[in-house]
C-alpha cells in the first residue's frame, strides 16, 4: 500500500488551495449564509476558466484522485462546494452519454464554470423510493409535455439547467419507463418556490406545468432513465461529503484554545477521537477513489464511507455544541458566538448529510445486501 500524494497531484492541490485563498473570504461565506445559496460564484468561475472543472469531471478517462482533491480541499477549507459538485456530476453524465448538441449547449457551459445545474429527482411523496416518482412526460407529436413537482431542487433559483427525471411509460416493471431530461430552467411552465431550511441553506420546490420540450433534451435513450440515474449516482458518489470533521475540529480547537479549556483531559481525549475519525473518513474516501481509479465498477465503498462520515459528523458536532455551550448556541451574526458561529452551524449542517444523496438507512441496506451478503429485505 502507498499513501503518498504524487507530485503532480500536490501541484493540482496547491493550485486549488491558492484559488480558494484568492476567491473565498469572509464576505463570500457571509453571503452564502445570508442568501442560503451555497455557491461561491467567483471561485467556481475561476475553477472553470483554469480547466480545473474539466480535470475533476468524473468519467472513465479521468483521474478520480483529482476530483477527490478538489472536493476534499473545498470541504476542509469550508468553501461552498454543493453547486460545483452538482455541475461536475452532470458534466460527467454528458461526457459519457450526451449528444453532440448537449455537449455544445450544456456541457461547454458547465465545464467553463458559467452554467449551474440542479437535480429534479425527489418528489413531495417520494424520497428514498425514487421509483415511485409520478412526474410524467407524455408524447405529443414530436414533443414531450411534462407535468409534475420535485422537492429539494437545491440551486434551482440560480441554475441554468435541471436534470429532470420523469415517468414516460407505466406499462413495464417498477424500474422501467423512466426518461431523463436536461432542460433549460427558463423553459415556459417551470416555477421555483423557495424551501428555507433549519440550516442557513435555501432549497426549492419546482413545479412543471405543461412544460413542452423536444427530443434534443432527452439524456440517453427514452424509457431508459433508470440506467441514466445509475450512471449519475455513480458519479455523485465521488463528490465528497465525508470531509467535514477536519474543519469542525479546527474550529473547535480554536474555540477551546481561546476559552482556555484545551488542556482539560476530557476535552483533549475527545479531540483525539475526532482526529481518529477524521483520518478514517479520509482513508475510507481515498479507498473509494482508488477503487474507481483501478477501473472497478462502483461498489459499496462509497456507502461505507458516507454512513461512517456523516454519523460521526452529527455525533461530534453535537458534542462540540454541548462543550462550547452556551456561546455555541449563538449564530454567525453574534460577536460572542463560539468559533464565530461555526459550531452552531455545524449542528444544522450535519443533519442533512445523513439524509441527502441517499439516506444512511438506504446506504445500510446497500452495505448489508451487497457487501455482507445478507438477504434482500424488500
Amino acid at each position: 500500500m502507498d499513501f503518498a500524494i504524487e507530485a503532480h497531484h500536490r501541484q493540482f492541490r496547491d493550485q486549488i488551495r491558492n484559488l480558494i485563498a484568492e476567491h473565498v473570504d469572509d464576505e463570500v461565506i457571509e453571503e452564502a449564509h445570508r442568501t442560503g445559496t451555497n455557491h461561491a460564484a467567483s471561485l467556481h468561475r475561476a475553477l472553470g476558466e483554469l480547466g480545473v472543472l474539466i480535470r475533476a469531471t468524473p468519467g472513465p478517462e479521468k483521474d478520480p484522485v483529482e476530483l477527490w482533491l478538489l472536493s476534499s480541499e473545498m470541504e476542509k477549507a469550508g468553501a461552498p462546494f454543493d453547486s460545483t459538485g452538482m455541475v461536475l456530476t452532470i458534466a460527467g453524465v454528458i461526457d459519457a452519454i450526451g449528444t453532440s448538441h448537449q455537449r455544445d449547449t450544456i456541457g461547454s457551459g458547465l465545464a467553463a464554470g458559467t452554467d449551474l445545474v440542479c437535480f429534479g429527482l425527489t418528489e413531495p411523496d417520494g424520497g428514498s423510493d425514487l421509483a415511485a416518482m409520478r412526474t410524467r412526460a407524455e408524447r405529443d407529436g414530436n414533443q414531450w409535455v411534462i407535468n409534475g413537482a420535485k422537492m429539494w431542487t437545491t440551486m434551482a433559483h440560480v441554475a441554468d439547467w435541471v436534470f429532470l427525471m420523469t415517468r414516460t411509460d407505466t406499462s413495464g416493471g417498477r424500474y422501467d419507463g423512466f426518461t431523463v431530461f436536461l432542460l433549460p430552467m427558463h423553459t415556459l411552465g417551470i416555477t421555483v418556490d423557495p424551501v428555507f431550511t433549519m440550516s442557513t441553506e435555501r432549497s426549492n420546490a419546482t413545479f412543471y406545468d405543461d412544460v413542452v420540450v423536444g427530443d434534443e433534451w432527452v439524456v440517453g435513450e427514452p424509457d431508459n432513465g433508470w440506467a441514466v440515474l445509475g450512471l449519475m449516482l455513480g458519479f455523485e458518489r465521488g463528490m465528497g461529503n465525508t470531509g467535514f470533521l477536519t474543519p469542525l475540529l479546527r474550529r473547535f480547537t480554536s474555540w477551546a484554545t481561546r476559552a482556555g479549556v484545551v488542556d482539560e483531559p476530557s476535552v483533549r481525549t475527545r479531540m483525539a477521537q475526532i482526529a481518529i475519525d477524521a483520518q478514517m473518513c479520509e482513508l475510507l474516501t481515498q479507498r473509494t477513489v482508488w477503487t474507481a481509479a483501478t477501473g472497478a465498477p462502483p461498489g459499496v465503498e462509497g456507502s461505507i464511507a458516507k454512513v461512517f462520515a456523516t454519523d460521526a459528523y452529527v455525533r461530534h458536532a453535537q458534542w462540540a455544541q454541548a462543550t462550547a455551550a452556551p456561546e455555541s448556541l449563538l449564530g454567525f451574526d453574534e460577536a460572542r458566538a463560539a468559533a464565530e458561529g461555526w459550531i452552531d452551524h455545524d449542528i444544522v449542517h450535519s443533519i442533512p448529510q445523513t439524509i441527502q444523496g441517499g439516506t444512511n438507512e438506504i446506504n445500510r441496506n446497500n452495505i448489508a445486501e451487497r457487501f455482507l451478503g445478507l438477504p434482500r429485505f424488500r
Binding site: T253, I276, Q286, A368
Partner: protein
Amino acid sequence: MGIDFALSDQQETLETTFARFFAAESSVAVVRASEPLGFDAELWTKLDAMDAGSIRADGATLSDLVVIAERAGSSMAPVPLVEHWVATQILAAHGLTASGQTVGPSADAPIGSAPSPSTPSAPAPSAVAALAGTSIATVALSPAMDGVWRLVPAGAVADVVVGIDGDELMAVRAEPPMEAPTNHASMPMADRPSTDGERVILGRLDPDSSTTFLSKPLSLHQQAINEWRLLTAASLLGIATEALALGVAYVNERQQFGRPIGAYQSIQHGLADLPAMIDGARSLTHKAAWAADTGLVDGAGEIDMDRGLITECGPLASMAFLAAGDAAAAATERSLHYHGGYGFSKEYDIQLLFRRARGWAHVGGNPEIERARLADMLWPR
C-alpha cells in the same frame, strides 16, 4: 507511485501462506486447548521452523508484518508473535538475537535524545552469552515498579523480557513461569522481575530526558512500543473481521418467525456499521506501517491539524491501535448479541473472540490514557 490500497505481490503471498498455515495449525480446537494459559508451544515450534519469528530480522517490512499479524489474529493463534518481533527488534539494534547470537557490529543505541557519558558501550561478550539458548522474547510496555514489570504480555512464556527499569533499558533472561493469572482473555501475561535473572543493560536514559521519554526523538523502546501498538492493531482487526464473518454466517442460517434473522433490517443495520470501523482502522494500520517503513518517524512526517494531514508514524500507530480496539469491541459485541443466548455459551466460538478483543486492547493499560497521549502528539502543550 501514489495512493494504492492493494497489497504488494509479496504481501499477497504472505497472506495466502499464513492464512493457510494458521487455518491448518491454529484451529479453534488448538485455541481452546491452549486455554487458560493461551500458549501452544508446538505451534510456536512450527512457526519457528518457518522462520516466522525472525522474519523481521530477515528483511520483512512492518507492512508485511501487519499482514501476518492480522492472519494470526483472525485465528486467535496462541503464540506471542507480535511481542517477539518487537522485542527482538530492540535486541537486534544492539547486535543481539533472542538466542544470544551477535549479528554484526553492535549498535550503540542510547534511549535518550543525546549521547551522554553514562551511555554504555556494546554489551560485553559475557552479556551476549547470557542470552544464549533463549527462544521467545517480549517487551514490558510500562517501566518496572519496585523491581517488577507488571502483567507483561507474553510474560508467562517468554525467556527474555526487554523493558525499562529506572533509567535503564535492559534485557532480562529468566525461566518463564509458564503460568498466568486467571484472566479475561486467556492471555499468557505475567509479572516479571527486572532484578532477577541474567541482565543485559542495553542503554541508559539521558538524565536530561529521563522524565520525558515520551517526547521526541523516539527512543528505541518507544519505537518498539509504537510497533507493538500497530501490530496489535492488526491482530485486533483479525479478531474484528472474524467476528463479523461469524455473525454474518450465523444470521444467514438462524431462522426465526419463518425467515433467517439476517433478513431483518434491525440486524442488517447493526452489522452494516461494522465494515467502516474495520476497514477504516485497517487503512490506518497500514498507513502507520507505511509511515514507519518510509522513515516518517521521529518528526520526519507531517502533522497538519488545520488540514487534517498526518503522515507521522507515532500518531498514526496510536490512532490505529485505538480504532482497531474499538472496531474489535464493537464487532464482537454485536456479533455475539445476534447469536442470542448461544453466543453467551462457551460452546460457540464468538465468546473466544469477544474476550480477546478486550484483552489484547487493554493489556497495555487504559486506552483513555493512550487517547490523551495521542492528543499530546497532535496538539503539543
